[in-house]
Amino acid sequence: MLEWLYKDMLTFFPEGVSTYSKQLDDMFAVIYWFSVVIFFLTYGLLIAFIIKYRFNPNRKGYHFHGSNALEFTWTLLPSIVFILIGLWSEDMWTRTKSEWRVPHPDVSVEVMAYQFGWNIRYPGPDGVFGKKDRSQMTPSNPFGIDKNDPAGFDDLITMNQIHLPINKNVVVNLSTMDVIHSFFLPNFRVKQDALPGQWIKIWFNGFKSGKYELACAELCGSGHYSMRGEVFMQSEVEYDKWLDEKYSAIKANLLANPPALPTPTVEEPAKESHH
């Protein structure tokens, strides 16, 4: 209840488990310590002046209108410090968010948010995402997977649970079916709004296995608070095992009920053997 009074603010971060979480926390920490210094400096002066120059009827204030040298100094100094913070932030910013610095993906998943939950799509045994088409999106086909594209038949879709391997570059392609949501992984220091009508790529690389939470960070309606998801970070072996289980189920299902191509166009044989 009162921990905040005596504990350092920085100790309240949830454990960071992505490759850039430490760098981001360090940036926070540097600005934090800078702020602590400025805080004590300004508060020290404020309190000292309040005490020292409190009213005394035998004294008069100092008739002084200011000093250009001082104005110049306290314009220049903060400018330099702030611009340094800016330039230094720039590298981390492009590293985490710029498309041209998204690393080569080891694992790609798609996430489609909706009121109020998350659909997650894996490419399936063939390793290829089926074509998607927004005009075909429905609650039961949240990604609008093109029914004419065989690559889509084996795609795996899960809800609110993401399994991922550790020490791999994960690229998430993010969108939403209805309103704006925000994909927030506190432990990974990842946050990105999902925009309807648009796909946005984000990436991270987690180094610690375990179960972590996914939250929605943008007000999206009365169920906003309930958009809780889970991220399971697993060793490569475990992850592959999980994937294998899911994929064999899909394969078995496809064998048992071969999907008919619903189009009046050319029949395409042997969809299952696509792999």
Binding site: F12, F34, L46, S79, E213
Partner: protein, 609 residues
């Protein structure tokens, strides 16, 4: 100097006559107190309406805090009186929570802070401080006020329509907002009216300041309150039309199913109504193009107020008068090129994030300059701790923290994690409650004598201040920590998440502090009501201040001044070494040092008529 000063002789002479011939054309009650064109009456109207909405918005905050501390538990006392659409067994429901947080933000920003900082103090201070009889466009001024009550009623009427009030946050992002129900429509209409009220007021302020200054009142002799309001008015005229346009577009999206902000192929109950092709993020650009300058609309006037109050009670010239003006101008100019810092994580091109990050970091510089100049002002002063000054000093103290938290968020990569968490909530309350509202309190305690002819009770005032200041910090400082812990804002029940469960005791602590903070504001209300009835009659210049407002009678009548006003010097000549008195009013002629001076003093101690 002469071009801008119009001959005030005539106007003031007239008003001089007026004073003795009041009964010549007595105004009806309605003209005098309701549809009045007198800037001072309009100022009081803004004050009372905004204080009323402060109580309404504050009450909503209490409900929000109850839910965060004790989710799912019945609201004590009032829970059982609320309808089933909002509460279940007396406990707040998620839809009601969303309505509360949206209405709280909307009311506090558009119906409390802006009407107080700009409406009340702009009206009260501008004509008096530049030495004129009234605004340049008094009718427009009256309309400006009279748009606010209907706007407020429309927005609040949302609670009584199907689907409840607006629930998409004060930021009202589409598509959520565009697809919402009638409450959101009422919100849009209400905000449109508030925007018009602002624009009318601002046009009037600019015109008045440029054209109606007393003889000798050059631009660089104007008090910083007037400068700040002048720049604020420019921000309003440039920014608010953009908001009005955006609101009109969202209104059409909602009502006529156009698709400015609605993209194609939404999977939503209302999706089929739209042809699509729009861009939800366009709203954010338009909204923040106004709303970032709007945060300065909310704080610049109070920065002006704080400067005047500090100088007066430190008995010292403001430190760096021109630097302060250039800092205000710098903030205003830069304020128009930083809006994207609200959108770092919105999905706009990260390259834009870079540019907005750099401009935002630059805007922190003039804010820092202002802090240093205020410290310079109290340095070697002779500081009196009147309640007004306590609040002004608190403004500095909290603005330091609010400015520093701004730097974290200005760094786009650091903002990734803290965006949309309680860190932001802490920041906005440090700048808007700690900053703007304490600045407004300073203004209320400072100008109450001129507004009402009575002194506010200082002892109650101090109580109000100490309780507010202590519990403000106890309420909002811990929110930084919640933010660092990853606590999202606008969540109905944070404890759905395992990583937030340990914050419940802290949230309870915050809630209890917030209740005390809320209750402390009743002291202010009580003090105002008590002092109006029983307060000591105010002298003409109770704080021995220099600016022209204090040359007017204790409770100025229509026309304001009872003597000719000529300005001889800047507004901050305190503790001049050549003078025995520690102040040197702007209106006092320089030649007269002996007799005149004495008569001046005695007229002060007499107070008004």
């Amino acid at each position: 100097m002469d071009t801008a000063t119009i001959s005030l002789h005539e106007t003031t002479n007239h008003s001089h006559d007026h004073d003795h011939s009041h009964d010549h054309h007595e105004l009806s009650f309605v003209q005098k107190y309701i549809f009045s064109t007198d800037h001072k009456v309009i100022a009081r109207q803004f004050l009372f309406v905004a204080l009323f909405f402060l109580l309404v918005g504050g009450f909503m905050a209490m409900l929000i805090r109850w839910q965060l501390a004790y989710p799912g538990e019945a609201i004590p006392l009032i829970g059982k009186f609320l309808p089933d659409t909002l509460v279940a067994g007396g406990a707040i429901q998620p839809n009601f929570y969303a309505q509360l947080l949206s209405m709280h933000g909307t009311i506090m920003i558009f119906l409390v802070i802006i009407p107080l900082a700009v409406g009340a103090f702009g009206n009260q201070c501008i004509p008096l401080m530049i030495g004129t009889d009234d605004m340049a466009l008094p009718k427009l001024n009256m309309y400006s006020f009279w748009l606010v009550p209907p706007a407020g009623m429309l927005v609040c009427a949302g609670f009584f329509v199907e689907g409840g009030s607006a629930a998409a946050g004060w930021t009202s992002y589409p598509t959520l907002a565009a697809l919402a129900d009638k409450g959101q429509t009422l919100w849009l209409v209400g905000m449109f009216l508030v925007g018009f009220s602002s624009i009318m007021g601002a046009v009037n302020y600019i015109t008045t300041i440029l054209n109606k200054r007393a003889k000798g009142m050059t631009m660089f002799r104007m008090p910083l309150t007037v400068w700040a309001l002048f720049i604020t008015a420019i921000l309003i005229t440039l920014g608010t039309p953009v908001l009005a346009a955006a609101i009109s577009m969202q209104f059409m999206d909602q009502f006529l199913h156009t698709s400015f902000f609605v993209p194609s192929h939404l999977v939503h109950a209302k999706g089929a109504l739209y042809s699509g092709g729009g861009q939800p993020i366009l709203w954010q650009h338009l909204f923040w193009f106004y709303s970032h300058p709007a945060v300065y609309i909310m704080i610049l006037p109070t920065m002006g107020i704080v400067s005047d109050v500090l100088s007066t009670f430190s008995r010292k010239p403001i430190f760096g008068y021109k630097a302060m003006i250039f800092a205000i101008m710098g903030i205003a100019f830069l304020g128009f090129i930083v809006w994207g810092h609200h959108m770092f994580q919105s999905g706009m091109n990260p390259l834009l994030g870079t540019t907005f990050m750099l401009s935002t970091i630059v805007i922190a510089v003039p804010s820092a300059i202002k802090i240093f100049n205020w410290l310079g002002t109290i340095w070697r002063g002779n500081i009196k701790f009147a309640t007004a000054n306590l609040n002004a000093l608190a403004f500095i103290a909290t603005f330091v923290i609010g400015g520093l938290s701004g730097i974290f968020m200005a760094s786009a990569p650091v903002d990734i994690y803290i965006h949309d968490t309680y860190f932001i909530v802490a920041h906005i309350h440090y700048v808007l409650f700690g900053g703007s509202l304490f600045g407004i309190f300073a203004g209320i305690y400072y100008w109450f004598p001129k507004m009402f002819g009575k002194m506010l009770n200082e002892s109650w005032g101090r109580k109000h201040f100490y309780w507010s200041f202590a519990f403000f910090n106890l309420t909002f400082y811990p929110m930084h920590i919640l933010g660092v812990g990853g606590h999202m804002r606008r969540v109905y029940d944070p404890y759905v998440y395992d990583f937030l469960k340990h914050f419940q005791p802290m949230n309870q602590f915050i809630t209890i502090s917030a209740f005390i903070l809320g209750a402390s504001q009743l002291i202010l209300i009580f003090n105002i009501l008590w002092s109006l009835k029983y307060g000591r009659n105010a002298p003409r210049n109770p704080w021995r201040a220099n600016t022209l407002d204090w040359a007017a009678p204790a409770k100025p009548g229509h026309g304001n001044f009872d003597k000719d006003i000529t300005v001889y010097r800047g507004p901050y000549e305190y503790s001049h070494p050549d003078r025995k008195l520690d102040y040197w009013p702007q209106w006092e002629a320089p030649e007269v040092v002996g007799d005149e001076n004495k008569s001046q003093v005695s007229s002060l101690s007499h107070g008004g008529h």
